[in-house]
Symmetry: C2
Subunit: 407 residues, 2 copies
Amino acid sequence: MTATEAPRGTAQAELAGPATAAGPGALAGLSSRSRALRPSGKVLPEHARSHNRALVLQTLYTTGAQSRADLARGTGLTRVTVSDLVAELMGEGLVVELGQREDARPGKPATLLDVARSAFRIVGIDVSGHRVVRGAVLDLSGTILERAESPLGGATGERAFELVAELAARLVGLATAPVLGVGIGTPGVVDPRGTVRSAPNLGWADLPLQARLSARLGLAVHATNDANAAVLAEHGAAEADDLMLVKIGHGVGAGLIVGGRLVTGSGFASGEIGHVVVGTDGGPRCVCGRDGCLEAWLSVPRLTEQLDALGADADEAARDDVLAEAGRRLGIVLAPVVGALDLPEIVLSGPAHLLDGPLIAAALETLRKRTMAEQTRDLRLRMTAHGQDIVLHGTAVMVLSGELGVS
Amino acid sequence: MTATEAPRGTAQAELAGPATAAGPGALAGLSSRSRALRPSGKVLPEHARSHNRALVLQTLYTTGAQSRADLARGTGLTRVTVSDLVAELMGEGLVVELGQREDARPGKPATLLDVARSAFRIVGIDVSGHRVVRGAVLDLSGTILERAESPLGGATGERAFELVAELAARLVGLATAPVLGVGIGTPGVVDPRGTVRSAPNLGWADLPLQARLSARLGLAVHATNDANAAVLAEHGAAEADDLMLVKIGHGVGAGLIVGGRLVTGSGFASGEIGHVVVGTDGGPRCVCGRDGCLEAWLSVPRLTEQLDALGADADEAARDDVLAEAGRRLGIVLAPVVGALDLPEIVLSGPAHLLDGPLIAAALETLRKRTMAEQTRDLRLRMTAHGQDIVLHGTAVMVLSGELGVS
DNA sequence: GAAGTTTGTTCGTAAGCTTTACTAACTTTC
DNA sequence: GAAAGTTAGTAAAGCTTACGAACAAACTTC
């Protein structure tokens, strides 16, 4: 009996989490399979199986087209087991054969396999913009195929949710292949079940974003904080297991990966460094009422305002001073975090014309001056390469990871 | 890789590197069995088995005496499987039957089981003292049964290693039951294989402490940074999955647990916050040459010196001011870390007469003032309950975790 | 004393991965 | 040009692991 014929519907139904609705058609079995649901800890054979299945898919995803034998060597599993898992994955449409390898080697020519990167779509939504909700349809490689956006127009609460839901539905409609899942990055505190505990700007409090959207779309939905999504996007490319991403926009927030895993925090509020006070010499008044919060120093509105105040014909040096001062403040706040976590890399996301230059240089210099040389000698501080789409890319990583165990 | 699951066990696997020799006799099979050997991925049935074995042991360890049926309910495994695993554990001498349960209930009376807490010993060594190396023999519950120490006498390099090795051997000799393993907490940067990459005070650089000691004693050895050991000790008792421990002595260091796992850092130098500069208003000159490092503000020699300078008949308020200022400085450094990680709890270790009072109060107040209210409202900042023995207890936790998968 | 309950074991089964052995299909070598 | 060697993928058998069903033991309750 081949794996594809195996009637395992019951097992899937049991594994499927209550919060995430399974998709229709070919996807019905997918979302449940790869997730390791181990609330209290025991490991059953089927868990091992799904782990190995995800491992094969992951290897194929990151290493690219290769044969079953290559996969066996790469994963440490035997060729037999790999063949079995691949048959299962092919049965679900996630993996396809590309044909025989061309190069001339002794032995039977290998049949190349690859993830069916165009067989499924991911819908990503970025609610972190101040004026618009942005969305996209991506393929399994994370390439953006379609875009759409909705002006937020100051909407909050239920109206804001409605805008998000409509945009998501519109994008699902644009998808020309089955949708694997929908990912959402939103500001605020989001718990692991995708409930927005608190997002003041959007007027959301205890909004079960993931559950409601999942019910409405009939698709698997994953929601997380926008900075967390961003750091997932960056981690997808980076090889490092420790990474911090600082997202600078209207507010300032961060996402952290430590030991290869996303840090959520005890109250799901990790990365909220925007209202940490910087230094011991005061600073600009913050919207939160205190003086010298990081956000008061560094937010895009504040920087823009300061630069505008210099006038259009301002000295280059004067502009640089403003930006360098903001960078120094960022460095001051990051130094203890870098020291405590021994971080090798920090990535900034936000308007490059403000961040990429004197600001980032001053931040790195400040970090070096305020931490042990051994730790920050190799520290990298750089702009993201994802640009404006970082949250969208991150939501795709989240869906891939959540649905297929791939990142 | 599955985000929630893939790297699990890495901490253990890394802690127990290939350098760890298995013990003799009854212990020969233990150390290898419980370790989750999953460098990059595949899961075999035997891995699942060892995981479940550790789960049973862990449940028994933390919940205390209970029946096989209780264990089955607690772990989610069936009674059959639990019986099988318990038989294996009893065969290795790790679990014993205590006799029938006394209370009057319908049904066949249950046979109570417990971890054989006195059947094995753990030897712990604390090299973090400035003048002496301290050691102890502990049972599996972490109770200290014997103590021994060696004056360091300014020894460094090979002589210091010799002192440690001799103390360890002496303690192994004092043990009246088979030794499960030896744990060492040392200052400096220690990699996952127990090699001390750098410990300036001891004159150690790239010293394979774990491997050499393991070869010499013929026992499993685990070595880690002293602050990491300390936070493991604290975590053993705490229920929280996120925890920071700040160890204040001659130097200042920290150990971090995030998401239930020890943070090692990209260069194995996590927690090195002693030489992070505090604030933007200068400060005392540090041994590292900079002004205003945390260690320059907060180290025990510095505090003692300041208090001594006040004179023996000093005002109580003056003493409090000195300590409160140090506490404020600690709060300033910790605020960004608390914000970034959303930490629920910070524990201090060090001389209570200095730390437990105005210092800790000022630190907490400063933390509250410099972070978002939502995050620090429930923040706990307290002294450790382990006192001077925190590193010794931590080394025991490390051995338990590394050898048995129990913590 | 009968009925019900709980414990712990025995026996057979399903799932999963491995080893061993095989065929297919190619390159290299003589 | 044929034999030898190499590699890919499959098939069969076996081992490990955990499960479910059934059962005996031993107790409480009625």
